[in-house]
């Protein structure tokens, strides 16, 4: 009797877990979809102006999508060479003792709350860049990309390292036996073999960067315009939700439009999660 009862509790918990995900999707779409439809799908996605406080408010998220994508690409430009480089160094070159020092350091990085990165960017790195590059504001695409890049570095490096470490040893030995040196072995033998794993790490990093809120909210500057240079302030989808949701009336069109941004964001992250999982399972 007690035996089936316990089994049922564990099954119930599993239902609950699935239920939470369904509830998340339901709650976002229930508010977001009517908002998007009322504004018009085309106007919502491709509208050039996000101006919710005007007398005739405009809810076009095109500049926000562009802001999110630029900040994310900027972050990847920083984190791919650093993250994959660190992964290769740890897996292929560093001796075991050094490895034991580097890996916890990267793990520490993954545990630092994002608001602390935001503080660092706002109070330290931003003002530093103002003096260094003689620009009007340190809160811009450039600063946000660097900090965001450092934030996603641990994801990219840890998953890449797993992929690199799982390349069979015989392949390396065969390469050395044919006269290749260490660098050539890494470039022509190890990396091609670990390619899929590394790409799936980058896709996962992309998903994390595009969904990150606090850093871009604090550091990216918050102008909902399409940036003309890397030193222009930008505004992302996540930052818009975070900055404006507190001041909206529950149920207003602005409220629904912010949930609409949530829908778009959810779909983008879902695609990146699926893509990354698919690649890891398939190992094409």
């Amino acid at each position: 009797m007690k035996d089936t009862f316990f089994k049922r509790i564990t099954l119930f918990s599993s239902y609950l877990t699935i239920g939470f995900l369904i509830l998340i999707v339901f709650s976002i779409f229930k508010e977001g979809i009517p908002g998007i439809l009322k504004i018009g799908i085309k106007e919502f996605i491709f509208g050039r102006y996000w101006a919710p406080y005007l007398d005739t408010p405009q809810f076009g998220i095109y500049p926000l999508i562009v802001g999110s994508i630029f900040a994310t690409l900027g972050a990847l430009i920083v984190s791919i060479p650093l993250g994959v480089g660190t992964a290769i160094y740890v897996a292929e070159i560093a001796n075991p003792k050094l490895k034991e020092i580097i890996k916890p350091f990267i793990e520490i990085l993954a545990g630092i709350p994002s608001v602390i990165f935001g503080l660092f960017g706002m109070a330290f790195l931003g003002p530093l860049f103002v003096r260094l590059f003689n620009i009007s504001t340190g809160l811009n695409l450039f600063t946000a990309s660097i900090i965001l890049g450092i934030m996603v570095l641990p994801i990219i490096s840890s998953i890449s390292e797993d992929a690199i470490s799982s390349v069979p040893k015989d392949l390396r030995e065969a390469s050395y036996a044919l006269g290749a040196n260490r660098w050539e072995t890494i470039i022509f033998v190890v990396l091609p073999k670990a390619r899929v794993g590394i790409i799936s790490a980058i896709v996962l990093g992309f998903g994390r960067a595009i969904g990150e809120t606090m850093v871009v909210l604090m550091v990216a500057g918050g102008a909902s315009r399409i940036p003309k240079s890397i030193f222009c302030p930008v505004r992302t989808m996540t930052a818009t939700i975070a900055a404006e949701m507190g001041e909206t009336m529950v149920g207003s069109l602005h409220f629904k439009a912010l949930f609409g941004i949530g829908v778009v964001l959810f779909i983008i992250t879902l695609i990146s999660i699926m893509l990354s999982e698919f690649m890891r399972l398939k190992k094409v």
Partner: protein, 283 residues
């Protein structure tokens, strides 16, 4: 000759990217520690803020973060552990197992601001909990759930099968075997996952933005239906609201150091338990 040059450049590129990553972390942590220590004293930790956050301490934020984290762990742990047990001990290879796996993967990849929207729509508005510790704690609970499930699953999987077989041989039922044999062995590893989740829940800002957090209050929350200050939100508020940047930024650094210390303490504690556990293993 050319080959050796390429090799030299390549290897050194890898070395310098590692060095750069590590020095950035080192640099960031040093800045927080150096600037944070300038404002931290006994009063800072035990007193409420004064004069619109330009003076005084952060005690209500520490208490608020404690409440939020505690509530989220209390809610997420049983659900997470039981789901983990189901995954290892009861599930069969079928569509339902795949569904749970996909759910966990998706939950752990959803941006924190989406959890904030979910918490707002469900707990604050639909359940009428309002902006409160309860709403914020539940939102955080759903967010840390996948981590707890995954660590529980891994922890239970590492328990050797002979333990289970021995229990069965002695006539134990399956539930007895799990509760009295498997769980005690897996417990330290499960605890590690929970402690790491504590660190994560304590540091998250976005999910509590519009479900639990408030900018300035001198009082401590009296019940879970009240809004609260919290450490991560306090840092954000100090940097973006108010007008006295000169006196607010140092307090933000101080708050960041307290939060960072809390998170590191949790992670260190988790590593310690894992280490102890590994040494104690005799099979």
């Amino acid at each position: 000759m050319k080959r050796r040059l390429f090799s030299f450049i390549g290897i050194n590129f890898l070395r310098s990217s590692t060095l750069l990553s590590i020095s950035f972390i080192f640099f960031l942590i040093s800045i927080i520690i150096l600037k944070g220590f300038q404002v931290i004293n006994w009063e800072f930790i035990t007193q409420p803020p004064k004069e619109f956050m330009t003076k005084g301490g952060i005690f209500p934020a520490i208490v608020g973060t404690f409440y939020l984290t505690f509530l989220s762990i209390i809610v997420a742990s049983p659900i997470g552990i039981l789901t983990g047990i189901f995954l290892v001990e009861y599930s069969r290879k079928n569509w339902f197992l795949s569904l749970i796996k996909i759910t966990i993967g998706t939950l752990s990849g959803i941006p924190s601001i989406i959890f904030a929207l979910f918490g707002l729509a469900i707990f604050v508005v639909l359940f009428r909990f309002g902006v409160s510790i309860l709403s914020g704690g539940l939102t955080l609970a759903v967010m840390i759930l996948p981590t707890i499930i995954k660590t529980t699953e891994e922890a239970i999987r590492t328990v050797p099968d002979n333990f289970r077989e021995a229990a069965y041989a002695l006539g134990a039922k399956k539930s007895e075997t799990i509760i009295k044999v498997v769980l005690p062995v897996a417990l330290p590893n499960i605890l590690t996952g929970i402690i790491v989740s504590v660190g994560r829940a304590a540091g998250e800002t976005a999910p509590i933005l519009f479900t639990a957090a408030t900018f300035y209050t001198r009082k401590l929350p009296k019940s879970i239906f009240e809004e609260t200050m919290a450490l991560p939100y306090h840092i954000y508020a100090l940097m973006t609201e108010g007008t006295q940047a000169k006196s607010q930024v140092p307090i933000a650094y101080g708050t960041a150091l307290v939060l960072l210390a809390l998170v590191f303490l949790m992670n260190g504690f988790a590593i310690f338990i894992r280490y102890k556990m590994r040494r104690g293993k005799k099979w």
